[in-house]
Symmetry: C2
Subunit: 147 residues, 2 copies
Amino acid sequence: MPTLTAAQKRAQARADYDAFLENCPSRQLLDRISDKWVALILAALGSGGPHQPGADCVGEPRAMRYSELSRRLAGVSQKMLTQTLRSLERDGLITRTVTATVPVTVTYELTDLGLSLHHLMRGIKEWAEAHMDEVRANRERYDRRVD
Amino acid sequence: MPTLTAAQKRAQARADYDAFLENCPSRQLLDRISDKWVALILAALGSGGPHQPGADCVGEPRAMRYSELSRRLAGVSQKMLTQTLRSLERDGLITRTVTATVPVTVTYELTDLGLSLHHLMRGIKEWAEAHMDEVRANRERYDRRVD
DNA sequence: CAGGATCCCGCTAGATACTG
DNA sequence: CAGTATCTAGCGGGATCCTG
């Protein structure tokens, strides 16, 4: 008789798989870019701030101040903005620069790595704009079929 | 005097922005692919099942049965597997085929749209494998700097 | 075999208030 | 201006049990 029950074996398999996933680079990247505010901050810094109703992202990458980001991402709370900026800085995707004016000025800017990621995001955006209409149509068809 | 207080105006701006985001195709796509199990199911069906410790995704797209998916994605619960498969079917990314054997056989397979999305995911995977080491290194540096 | 139905818990986003 | 600190509620996801 085995030393582990079937339930224990399953639990073990799950634990192993979870551990594996945490080391999976793709998983880590997906976790990063899927964050609601990460994508928006990247887009803002990378294209001069898109994702304002009506504006499309066609600008050049440029630095922005905390307050400017806060204004462009109209829906973000201070907490989430700060927290997201910190994590992006930690990952080396953006730089945080403090200038000792009074009051203090803080600017954020994409690094080369961040810019590279921003380009990947553009690819995602293109797929989305090319295919999400079809997805939306599929959903409606499916929902009608169901009722 | 305005009919809205400053706080009310901010709340309004947030509501508008949230509404805007919900209609943003990129946001919708990100929500879709960032789901833990979506990425794995797409990878499984699209490459003959990667994301097993040790195995890399090099196979051909092919159909799989519910139980096979369940085995390959060792960490998934029945609930989440079913729920995720349903939502992918709804989006027209996979097809669900019931064969009236006894007991019943159900197979899932990528549609053309799903295959197209799978290719996008490969691009994401490539970026991840090319750059996530650097990100990891940045994190460690940042964390050391902080203590 | 391939799910459906429930209960329940942890985590996190958001609100609010305060500060160098 | 650019944050920090704290509290709380909602919900996504897992566990568990049941079925055509």
